[in-house]
């Protein structure tokens, strides 16, 4: 099981609780760790990840900010340059666009651009995700923007255990790390190792073994993939699920090793299809497992529209288990090497 070290005691808790407890533990461990963001203190966090921490650690360690994403993300960069370890909360990943110049042109560049003289040990935690009827500007999954940038590390835990392990690793890492959370995951539960638990950044996990087809997923879509795998098991279809966990660096080996075994793959993500995370995964598979592939790698992703508010349209636009099942079936049905099979008009 990913993120569960053999022999260590585990506790069941929510993804939210795992994040909260890890923040607290890291703050206790290291005085240079502090939290900064909008409404994380008095309001206890928009999604209550930081509940109780202001009371315990005081305003020096838990710093509420005005609505100034560029300002406070940039301030975290400067604080990190002087050796502190800020953990920024961006209320949702949508608002990261207000701070993206600081993230991409500063946090990601400072180490290399100045010849390796200084490190920027900071973490940005932020949830993405649609399906909550928050409308077009509040439902995006734009982690691909950050995954594209050399100098950043981007992780996206799908389980409470990885939430703990990746957050702890991110805080101890000396590079800027974006930790992508997901609104739909906060209340999900899982077994979390007690005590010290670090998940290495840069390694995917085989979340479930299987032999007929590989489903590559990350964050919220891992749960969909696992559900579908269980469902299809009953029909005798064996699905292997790869949880990317880290988008940058991307663990190409684990992905390709799985596909070389299963010979077929489907990628599922919550983001739009074109130029999404899935595109890189497909490009990776086709290069790294080309000669093993028995069918084109298909992508299951959101419809390419600004996400509508109305439930009827929103549901239609977002990928779900049904879509994944359909595409897995189509992938398994794809046979032969007939050029006529090409879908291109």
């Amino acid at each position: 099981m990913p993120g569960n070290e053999a022999g260590s005691a585990v506790t069941e808790m929510t993804y939210r609780q795992a994040l909260h407890d890890t923040l607290r533990a890291e703050m206790l461990r290291d005085e240079s760790v502090f939290l900064i963001g909008e409404e994380i203190g008095i309001f206890e966090g928009s999604y209550k990840i930081t509940a109780g921490l202001l009371e315990e650690f005081g305003p020096r360690r838990v710093r509420d900010t005005p609505i100034s994403e560029e300002g406070f993300v940039g301030a975290a960069i400067g604080a990190a340059m002087l050796g502190l370890r800020p953990v920024v909360e961006l209320m949702t990943i949508n608002f990261s666009l207000l701070a993206i110049d600081q993230i991409v042109n500063h946090a990601a560049k400072i180490h290399a651009m100045f010849g390796g003289q200084i490190a920027v040990p900071m973490v940005i935690r932020t949830p993405g995700g649609g399906g909550q009827q928050l409308g077009a500007t509040h439902s995006q999954n734009i982690e691909v923007y950050y995954a594209h940038i050399p100098g950043l590390k981007v992780v996206a835990p799908s389980t409470p255990a990885d939430a703990k392990g990746l957050l702890a690793s991110a805080i101890r890492d000396s590079d800027p790390v974006l930790l992508v959370e997901n609104l739909a995951l906060y209340n999900t539960k899982g077994q979390v190792p007690e005590g010290e638990h670090l998940t290495e950044i840069g390694r995917a996990a085989v979340a479930r073994e299987g032999s007929d087809v590989t489903v590559v997923a990350y964050s919220h879509t891992v749960g969909i993939a696992l559900d579908v795998a269980t469902r299809l098991q009953a029909e005798g279809i064996s699905v292997e699920v790869v949880d990317l966990r880290s988008l940058r660096p991307l663990d190409r080996s684990t992905v390709c090793a799985s596909v070389r075994k299963t010979t077929r793959a489907v990628v599922i993500e919550d983001d739009w299809l074109s130029y999404g995370v899935g595109a890189e995964v497909v490009a990776t598979i086709q290069e790294g497992a080309f000669y093993s592939l028995d069918a084109p790698v298909r992508r299951v992703a959101a419809a390419e529209v600004p996400l509508p508010y109305s439930k009827s349209l929103e549901s239609a636009a977002l990928p779900d288990a049904r879509d994944l099942v359909k595409v897995i079936r189509e992938t398994l049905d794809a046979t032969g090497f007939a050029a006529s099979g090409d879908r291109c008009a």
Binding site: E38, L98, G135, E304, S310, D323, V327
Partner: protein, 388 residues
């Protein structure tokens, strides 16, 4: 521009650090009574009715949210009714309004049918935005309500650009168009505020920026968030004159807004107007607002503009108890009709998913449902290139 006298070789600006305190409203007192009496009873009753309609609408919206008829975020104007009505009384039909996610009341006062507003909250196709926007994104071209916006400060640059378009196309004067751009107190701390006010200043744009100071941005007080908590002064960095008005005084708000709009229209002098009011509830329907002190909540309740105007109008004989009951009953009835309309309206059909992809259709964007290939889709192919 005179420079303050300074030391030998330096000149200092006068803004020394001073302690920050809670927003002080301009003292109304006697003058308010005076103003009230010069207004016709019809005018005052009209304002009051609108305020009551907003109050009813918002209370019912909260209820519908709790009953899961409304999804997503839902931010109410409860406590801000006098500001809403006062501002909208000053705004002419030819003017453009850009506002925030806390905008139900504004839509109603711009004359949009309450049924269409409620239907939007319900995500129905009869909603003002066809169900695409929801509570945060009301829009109506005819009413020149150019959007509620959910990104804090996001509306300010486009509003400024709308004013630029007016200046591009027409001459200043008393009949000219103008733009009103609303924002909350917390929003004055974001970069877009700064950049936009500067542009409006150097380009002489016909725009009034209105800060609705309800004392809080979510759980953060103005004093905690803003280096200069007297927000109407924040035009200082652009030579934009600022005025603070009591946001619970509907006539004062209207007059201050009219004066500011006049300046924008006639002199192309942008203005900053701060209306001080109080939020009666949490930031949004789901926020229990536990971070607020009992005292703070009590104070907000005391300032309740609907209750206070009611007493005043009764006290001054502008309204008698029967009329008051009628106003309330009528508002209730209208909101009930709005809910019924929303309930009875259809959800947008899935076939509409790609209907608004582009205003100008182009090839190679068929649109794919999640389980479909980008090379073509059954749904998409039937509507490809349909655009709008």
């Amino acid at each position: 521009m005179p420079i303050n006298a300074g030391t030998k070789t330096s000149r200092s600006s006068s803004n020394r650090a001073k302690p920050r305190s809670a927003p002080v409203r301009p003292d109304a007192g006697a003058s308010e009574m005076q103003r009230m009496t010069v207004e016709s009873p019809e005018t005052l009753l009209g304002y009051y009715s609108q305020m009551v309609l907003i109050r009813s609408f918002e209370q019912r919206a909260a209820e519908m949210y709790t009953r899961a008829k409304i999804g997503g975020y839902c931010h109410l104007n409860l406590g801000e009714e006098a500001t809403v009505v006062g501002l909208m009384a000053a705004l002419e039909p030819r003017d453009y309004l850009f506002t925030t996610y806390r905008e139900h009341g504004y839509a109603l006062c711009r004359g949009i049918d309450s049924g269409r507003v409620m239907a939007e909250l319900f995500g129905k196709s009869t909603g003002v935005s066809g169900g695409w926007g929801g509570s945060m994104h009301l829009f109506d071209t005819e009413a020149r309500l150019l959007g509620g916006y959910g990104i804090v400060g996001g509306q300010i640059p486009p509003a400024t650009g709308a004013a630029l378009a007016i200046a591009y196309r027409s001459e200043p004067g008393p009949d000219a168009e103008a733009v009103m751009c609303l924002m909350g107190d917390g929003t004055t701390n974001i970069g877009a505020f700064h950049e936009s006010l500067n542009l409006a200043s150097i380009w002489h744009l016909p725009i009034v920026y209105v800060v609705i100071n309800n004392g809080l941005g979510m759980g953060t007080t103005v004093q905690a968030a803003s280096g200069e908590p007297e927000l109407y002064k924040r035009g200082c960095s652009y030579r934009i004159p600022g005025v603070r008005v009591d946001g619970d005084d509907v006539v004062a708000v209207r007059d201050a807004a009219r004066e500011a709009l006049e300046s924008a229209r006639v002199d192309r002098q942008p203005r900053l107007l701060e209306a001080v009011s109080a939020r009666l509830r949490g930031h949004s329907v789901v926020d229990p607002a536990r971070y607020r002190s009992a005292q703070d909540v009590e104070r907000a309740q005391e300032l309740d503009p609907v209750a206070n105007l009611r007493s005043k109008l009764l006290g001054e004989g502008v309204m008698d108890p029967t009329m008051a009951a009628d106003v309330e009953a009528e508002a209730e009835a209208e909101v009930a009709r709005a809910v019924a309309f929303a309930e009875g309206s259809p959800l947008p059909p899935v076939s509409e998913l790609f209907a608004h992809s582009y205003a100008t259709p182009v090839p190679n964007c068929p649109g794919n449902l999640p389980g479909e290939s980008p090379f073509g889709s059954s749904l998409a192919s039937s509507i490809a290139g349909a655009g709008k």
